[in-house]
């Protein structure tokens, strides 16, 4: 029945918890199938067997206490069983194992920011080592979000003003997607992050260098990838149209008017400053809503973005 599980649930079972959930899901699924046919087969049979015949006399059956007790008690027992099974599974998710790696998640419209205990930070890209329990401690800077990793079968709301948490242990190396599962406005469906489950060696390497992928791209390409991954695209368009923030197309080397009345030329220094201190120079007609990327972008990523903006003529 693996094909059925693959149809009804995500193909990847990225954690022990996912296998547990899948087993429960399939058990309830088959229970439901049995009960569904247990209801529908009699219905169809009665409909056919007792279809209208002129003059047929129907019996006056008002109740049958034994039967009614049976069909009250049996479902009740099933429910009690499922309830306890559900709690056992839930506790794996809500109560942590002894030792785990903590990752702090900060959500904002519309990007995910991850921070490791040593201060390493990343945006929309979460690297975790395989077979090591992960403890997510999450908060939001604006509205409700929800960090959902379908392949791990885990999700919990990310709430402004307080922290929420959950645990899971990834068991297979590979790339997964996490999505926002609590409606948060315009960019809700674009608020995705990549979850990379790495081998311990790869993970250690990533922690040191932030990965080596940038070496395989031209700076412009690398910049475009950052544009898509770090959440720039939720506020900046590259086709010349206005969004929450100004477009990037055709601005390089041109003067722009700021909201304090002065004018500035778009060059590398200005672009860098806008990423690190977005509030310092705000383009006229836009609100100061951009979060700072200080400490979130590596040097190679900043250079890529500068090159990408330069290429958008």
């Amino acid at each position: 029945m693996e094909w059925l599980r693959r149809l009804l649930l995500p193909v990847d079972q990225g954690s022990e918890f996912a296998k547990h959930i899948d087993n429960m899901y399939m058990a309830i699924f088959w229970l439901s199938v049995i009960m569904f046919f247990g209801l529908m087969v009699p219905m169809c049979y009665f409909a056919w067997r007792y279809r209208f015949k002129p003059g047929r006399v129907t019996p006056h059956q008002t109740h049958n206490t034994v039967m009614e007790i049976v069909w009250t008690v049996i479902p009740l027992l099933l429910c009690v069983g499922l309830f306890f099974w559900g709690i056992i599974g839930y506790m794996q998710f809500a109560v942590g194992p002894g030792e785990s790696m903590e990752i702090q998640i900060t959500a904002k419209q519309w990007l995910w920011q991850f921070e490791f205990p040593d201060g390493t930070r990343a945006v929309n890209e979460l690297h975790i080592p395989v077979n090591k329990p992960v403890h997510l401690v999450m908060t939001s800077e604006d509205v409700l979000h929800d960090f959902f990793i379908p392949d791990m079968r885990v999700k919990r709301d990310v709430i402004p003003g307080r922290y929420t948490e959950y645990w899971f242990t990834p068991t297979t190396v590979g790339e997964h997607v996490s999505t926002c599962a609590e409606y948060c406005g315009k960019g809700h469906s674009d608020m995705k992050a990549k979850v990379f489950v790495d081998t311990p060696a790869d993970f250690a390497k990533w922690m040191e260098t932030g990965g080596d992928e940038w070496m395989h791209h031209t700076p412009e390409e690398w910049g475009r990838i950052q544009y898509e991954q770090k959440g720039c695209q939720s506020c900046h368009n590259v086709d010349g149209t206005r969004s929450k923030g100004p477009t990037w197309k055709g601005i390089w080397g041109k003067p722009v008017k700021l909201n304090n009345g002065t004018t500035v030329i778009v060059d590398e220094a200005y672009v860098r400053e806008s990423m690190m201190q977005p509030g310092a120079k705000v383009v006229d007609g836009f609100e100061n809503i951009m979060p700072t990327f200080q400490g979130l972008l590596r040097e190679n990523e900043i250079r890529g973005l500068v090159a990408y903006i330069k290429s958008l003529q």
């Binding site: 015949k53 009614e68 009250t72 009690v80 559900g86 959902f148 469906s189």
Partner: protein
Amino acid sequence: MEHTLTSGNVTADRPRPAKNYLNETTGLWSWMSTVDHKRIGIMYLGAVSFAFLLGGIFALLVRLSLLNPQHTLFGKQWVTAEMYNRFFTLHGAIMVFLFIIPSIPASLANFVLPMMLGAKDVAFPRLNLTSFYLWVAGAALAIGSMVLGAVDTGWTFYTPYSTTTDGAVGLMTLAVFILGFSSIFTGLNFIATTHKLRAPGMGWFDMPLFVWGIYATGVIQILATPVLAITMVLLLIERVFQIGIFDSRIGGDPVLFQHFFWFYSHPAVYIMILPGMAIISEIIPTFSRKTIFGYRAIAYSSVSLALLSFIVWGHHLFVAGESDLANVIFSALTFLVAIPSGVKMFNWLTTMYKGNISFETPMLYAMAFLFLFAIGGLTGIFFATLAVDIHLTDTYFVVAHFHYVMMGGTVIAFLGGLHYWWPKMTGRMYSEKWGRVACALVFIGFNMTFGSQFIMGGQGMPRRYFNYLDQFQPIHAFSTYGSWVLGSGLFLTAIYLLASLKTGPLAPDSPWGGTTMEWESSSPPVVHNFEEQPVFEHEPYDYRHRTVTHV
């Protein structure tokens, strides 16, 4: 009581009175100022049908937006994320607050509940009319909020998004507040009517089960809706004054809003489904020509569902930041809901056993209800189980589940009830042939639209998503095609029902051989329902002395 049943024939067993509630007085003002529960029921029927049309248009737009991941029609992108967010918000808000909540109670029950009790009217006729005009005012405000900067919060108005977003959220919350009082007055009226206006000799356990269902609904309307009203006021005040209750930026607790909201909105689910179940409890014995099995069990299960509905709302918050202790308690209580729902299913099936079943349109809808509600109910078990809920909540699985209950349950039952009482309400028979065709279209279209969403949800497609992964494209497209089939079925229903008003054959007093008291009136009934006060003589579904020879 032992008149021969000549179902389907135009020959009524007594002459039609010349004057009935439709033609006793005429003119627009005679309708607008009426306190006759039947006319108010008809006005409500028109009003909620309009809301259903409006909400349905938004539903089709939502589905059309998701036809392909590029959101293109004829090669051009036609919808943006902002528009999509408004579509689903308006679809949800209109369907829940303007359509489903008042649908069965305020239109069908308003018409038949007093007649089932042998009463001349509801307890407070003018309050009934007030309720209708409050609905109109609420609808006007809701539509006003669409025109004056639409709302994009989702129908749930979760804070802090709803306290900070632009748009006419204030107007929409005001609309919901007013609609709440419309609903309260309806419920209040039915409870008082049931208590005090039963026909001479009719005890509590002599009432038709429809009345039990509507009575239980009224209890929920009275107890839950005020909390919604005050929640909407608090939300409005939070937006204007920033008092710091729901908005976390100023010290509020967004999860508290969800508690307040779901303390109403979970019981509201039962405001929607209990009347649906109540209709099924009428249709099945009538078309099986057999007394209902387990009358008391069904009556008690209606009331116990109403009461249980108040202690399970926390299951909407399992992953929303509710404490583990509360999660466990709410999970346990949620499972209890399965029991009375199951009891009803078993009783309906047993009623069909050894019956004499014919398949006119209302019965087809009743069987569709059993099919769809079984799926809706069983998929609820997935959510009650804490661990599985973590994965499935906030995905399309939830969307599919509650549409199976709300649309597959309530709306299908509403359609069944509409066809069941249409001859009584209008005095005309509709086209049986087109009725069956439309029922089949609705049934197939519905399963295409929402059955497929169980698969998407399980695979991890979150709800309220504008941009989705390409892998879901075929299922989304299939679901959208299903929505067209469903829409065409409903459109067809509207056409033949309206056509029957002009061309339908005259209806007999009791076209289906129903045994409850409303069938003792003429079709359509006279102004005060009965020419003489009916007296309770036999239990509501007594077929012992009736042998049907002809359909």
